[in-house]
Subunit: 357 residues, 2 copies
């Protein structure tokens, strides 16, 4: 029975990197007889331009009936002046909420071939392989009430609500514990329990859950300290789990430790393994249309999709091995180029991965 | 007319580092004829032990009638099980709120003598000198409503409120613009205006304010990107201004970029220049009582106090120069020790600064 993938290239470099990812997907679809069918649609700025909104009901419905979603990137200066409720980012948030993608897996891996790219000293990041599990459909991103109002003094007042219930915490906690079980068996839960009550509950629930995962060593860290420790000694971490807002900040920080965010994929999962997959980098409007963007994060997102949503581990491994091979060959897009390597374009990088497959 | 300094050594290494800072304060008090009088009190864990609460009304009153407060550090595992409302940190938060210390200045300076201590590559941090201006009495730290309740589904639910009104934003904004005017004239305001309404207002007010400071170049950055840029290229920043929560995270991250948080002081100011001064590092209970803690951050906090609250710029500069001299002499406490330098104790470091004065 064929399964459906919704392809959402998005804005900026999105279409360029997606074109390469689709070639890879088509290739493994054939060679591994996966019987995948792709459908395409618009999201973000391109959807605003076409329909006046960043995520149409039809697109969301298509996403809901698909087995997985592959997304490029959204946003750009063109839509910066658009009303908050209709900005490109809302398309992304709408997909996360509309598909119940509460679990965001963000690996930060330093490829040995790219060790020099990190801004950290090599010995501190060599072999870095950490996973941030970020809650994605709750917390302050979605909490009500929210808005800008006039207060009793006649002042404008902006407000948001940071809120988590134990059911939400438990389901993301389980995902993180299970991820840790499959890796180094160390889970660090990040909160600000010395100040925020919302995260006191977070910590309590993580402690309760840990009884079910006796093989995983649970620790807790305040978010300010976590930001420091990521910079000081990132290899102390195996899996980190945290809320939406802290996860946004820490996962970008962790990704940057590798020096090559053009390489990092991500998965956003619901309770049943359905997911949306996207590079962690943005739409990079400054280099869009030049054919120089790095398609590897999107290609590696295809691998994650095959692994997590399509039970096609062998195909996932094949893609990851092919990416390793092109790096070994010294091929580099501009963002990861260094002296002594060979600079290639977006499509040449696609060619090389395809050849390595 | 004599001015009063409230000395709050606090917990852990607090008393040890404060003892050295007091020697320095006494020395400049004499040599610059500052006519400062010190009074002492307890805060944090030591106050819990003595009075059952981390900040007594009497201590707060003493702080209110003093011209400045010098604080060591609070907290430790001994009080980890204490009820949230009575934890050592509440003493700190109570002082901030009770004294209206809305403006937190956190410099992240890399001392050339300690360039190796950074986990970043030397060329990325050499000469680093950035200032984070953090709002300290508002935002999600103090927002109401807050707590843990049972929701309609019978679930526990933790919640906090992220809230800023334009008056609060304007006063911290002014402080940041003025700080930028005295430095490199670049101000980067950090928010999450693509998601949080509270920070949409923050950005709007910063833009409104910028008309009054045409000599300062204002830019905006999302907090996730700011965390990345701090790791990637911290020297792009001069002054950053942000809310309480983001400031907590980013200032610790920025401090860690220097690799020597034992060196970094901070100031927390009200609208009239009154302030509380403290090292940015914590109470380090693991090394308390061993006489090995670095007193320089507290000593440099004395310099900030002299500069911002006591109009004693010459004395501040003298202390800063003396600290530079002991670093030049190769004297190092354990936290900043490296091969080829001379390891000294807390009190020996105090001796050396005193001699250099
Ligand atoms: C674009 C933005 C809404 C989004 C977020 O904050 O979640 C992005 O930063 C991310 O991390 O995927
Ligand atoms: C101890 C804690 C309450 C405090 C804070 O979060 O503000 C500390 O981390 C700081 O930055 O001074």
């Amino acid at each position: 029975m064929s399964r459906q993938i919704l392809i959402l290239p998005g804005d900026g470099i999105g279409p360029e990197i997606m074109a390469q990812a689709e070639r890879i997907l088509a290739s493994v679809n054939d060679s591994f007889a996966l019987d995948l069918v792709s459908v395409h649609d618009l999201v973000g700025g391109s959807a605003i331009d076409a329909h006046g909104e960043p995520l149409s009901a039809a697109t969301l419905a298509l996403a809901q009936e698909s087995d997985a979603v592959l997304l490029g990137a959204v946003g750009g200066p063109k839509w910066d002046k658009v009303d908050m409720a209709l900005r490109p980012e809302r398309g992304l948030l709408g997909l996360r909420a509309g598909l119940n993608l509460f679990g965001n897996l963000r690996p930060a891996i330093l490829y040995p071939q790219l060790a020099d790219a990190s801004s950290l000293k090599p010995e501190l990041v060599a072999g870095l392989d950490l996973l941030i599990v970020r809650e994605l459909t709750g917390g302050i991103y979605f909490g009500q009430p929210r808005g800008v109002r006039i207060n009793a003094q006649g002042d404008r007042e902006g407000f948001n609500t940071y809120i988590y219930n134990e059911t939400e915490i438990r389901r993301i906690g389980r995902q993180a514990f299970v991820a840790a079980q499959k890796r180094g068996k160390k889970l660090c839960s990040v909160d600000k329990a010395n100040v925020l009550e919302a995260t006191v509950l977070w910590r309590d629930v993580m402690i309760e859950l840990s009884a079910e995962y006796p093989d995983v060593e649970l620790s807790h860290m305040y978010v300010d300290n976590a930001a420091m420790q990521l910079v000081r000694a990132p290899k102390q971490f195996d899996v980190m789990v945290t809320g939406n807002m802290f996860g946004d900040i820490l996962s970008d920080c962790a990704a940057m430790l590798t020096g090559s965010i053009g390489m990092l994929p991500s998965a956003s999962l619901d309770a049943n393994g359905k997911g949306m997959y996207e590079p962690i980098h943005g739409s990079a409007p400054d280099i869009a249309g030049q054919g120089i963007a790095n398609p590897l994060a999107t290609i590696l997102s295809v691998a994650m999709m095959l692994r997590y949503s399509l039970s096609a581990e062998a195909a996932a491994l094949a893609i990851e091995a092919a990416v390793g091979q092109v790096l070994d060959q010294g091929l580099r897009t501009a963002d990861i180029y260094s002296v002594g390597t060979e600079r290639v374009s977006t499509s040449q990088m696609g060619d090389a991965v395809l050849a390595a497959l």
